[in-house]
């Protein structure tokens, strides 16, 4: 087994060892250092950086739990938005398909940095979104989207949804239509056939999408940086600020170590959950 499994995994594992594990040793080491006044880093062996975060319920609630919550919410919305689109695209072909795929990828291709212009025009107090909503009588006072968590979530969805579509497509396309027919034949409506047959079989793609988008969201910093306010304490942004604006590398390193641990636990949880749910069944070897 080892003989068969190791060679194909070796290049990736070696790359990870050399370019992730070794550099991360430095991060772990730095996380035990001290920061003197004036952003001066001193070699030390202290747990202060960890206790500063983990021992402070304010950080735990407003940064860690906040980030997890926002990442989960944005991921969930992305999935809900992207799934039907992926279903639709899977049924198209030729030019229509290419156009749809292009449109899906366009926002990512153009990049957040430039699209922020468009978003400001849409989001700002007297912007297009508020004008529209007020005109439609959804609400009558301008709502704050820009420099607010609402905008951050919308933007995370805006960026996340295309990734979900991309990761779902192949799973959807490879489902044999006979399986759906068989379900329809035993009395399943389209809807039931979808939920009981198609949906479970798209789980591999869905899982991929969720993992990707959750990881992106959880460590996001560009979106909260540009769309968020000082109160959007997304942990990725906090790391960015501590490392780059406050020069507090020890604290940023400790935060990173914590993030890696939390992230790994969440992803591990997802792996177990999805594995139990379906993936294990699809992985049985013939």
């Amino acid at each position: 087994m080892i003989r068969r499994v190791l060679p194909p995994l070796a290049p990736a594992l070696i790359a990870l060892l050399v370019f992730v594990a070794f550099p991360m040793l430095w991060v772990v080491r730095t996380s035990f250092n001290e920061l003197e006044a004036g952003a001066y880093i001193v070699d030390a062996l202290t747990l202060d950086n960890y206790t500063r975060f983990l021992g402070d319920s304010w950080y735990l609630i407003n940064t860690l739990w906040f980030s997890i919550r926002i990442a989960l919410i944005a991921t969930a919305i992305s999935v809900v938005c992207a799934y039907p689109v992926a279903l639709y695209i899977a049924r198209t072909a030729g030019l229509q398909r290419n156009i749809l795929l292009a449109l899906i990828m366009a926002p990512l291709l153009i990049g957040l940095v430039t699209l922020v212009y468009g978003w400001i025009v849409i989001f700002r107090g007297g912007g297009l979104l508020n004008s529209l909503m007020i005109a439609l009588h959804v609400y009558d006072q301008p709502v704050r989207y820009m420099w607010d968590i609402k905008g951050v979530v919308i933007l995370l969805v805006y960026i996340g949804a295309p990734y979900v579509v991309l990761s779902l497509l192949d799973s959807i396309e490879r489902i044999s239509p006979f399986l759906v027919e068989a379900a329809r034949n035993v009395g399943a409506s389209r809807w039931t056939a979808f939920w009981k047959i198609v949906f479970p079989l798209t789980m591999p793609g869905l899982y991929a999408g969720i993992v990707i988008v959750f990881a992106l969201n959880f460590s996001a910093f560009a979106v909260p940086l540009m769309i968020g306010d000082s109160n959007t304490q997304m942990i990725g942004l906090v790391v960015y600020r501590e490392a780059l604006l406050n020069n507090d590398l020890p604290f940023a390193s400790a935060l990173s170590v914590i993030m890696v641990a939390v992230n790994a636990m969440i992803l591990m949880g997802m792996a177990v959950f999805f594995g139990r749910l379906i993936l294990n069944r699809l992985e049985v070897k013939r």
Partner: protein, 264 residues
Amino acid sequence: MIRFDFGTAALRLITLLMMTFLVFPIAVTLVVAVNPREFILPPNGFTLDWFRAAWSSKTFLRGMGVSLVLGIAAAFLANVLALPAAMALVRNNFPGKAALNIILMSPLLIPTTIFSLALYIYFVRIGYGSGLLPLLVGHTIHIMPYALRILTASLHNLDPSYEEAARIVGAGRIRTLFSITLPVIRTGLVSSFALCFILSWNDFPISVFLAPPGWTPLPVELFSYIKFQYDAVAAALAGSLILLSALAIVIIDRLAGLRRVLRS
């Protein structure tokens, strides 16, 4: 055939809404890019000044070139690393597989800022502080887990007998991979490549640390630019990118169509 006609109308509507959601900001950006008053809507005229400025900026053009080359190279390398790993993971059940999966996903767990900083410091320590290698490695490693996930999903539904059939007519592992496996999972492969390219194309933190002088990718150039300068030049650049992608799609479609015509 009743493929997946689950409420076609509803699906079409949702897709339409989603596309609007995705495209609307782009459209607005385009309007900004031809609006003499930039962000003040409605536009009071039409100008190509911003476009002209964008296209006469050597930094942007060079940045675009760098991002393009970098994205393609990194996406390629990431998939090359991820594909065999994905195959090994999907085809075999062994103890510790879940843990291995997480290890392979590790670049995804580390905040990009710290990852790139650590990688940068590491490269300097081992004496490769400058040059293109760190930049390429950084991008490749960062996007590899994404490729791994998408390819794994693709391989889940692949019937192994396709490969067996190729092996038995004399194709070695490599030939089977290229002639059978890859074509069969091509949607997944294209998705994976596209996703990797986009991730690299959009990356900011890794490039900030690892890009050697003269090889600054577009997002870094753009971010530096808009940090202070707030005009529609960047919007015009976005507009140019939209038009370029549209052109690329038409060309690809033509080529694909052409191939189909030639075959029949």
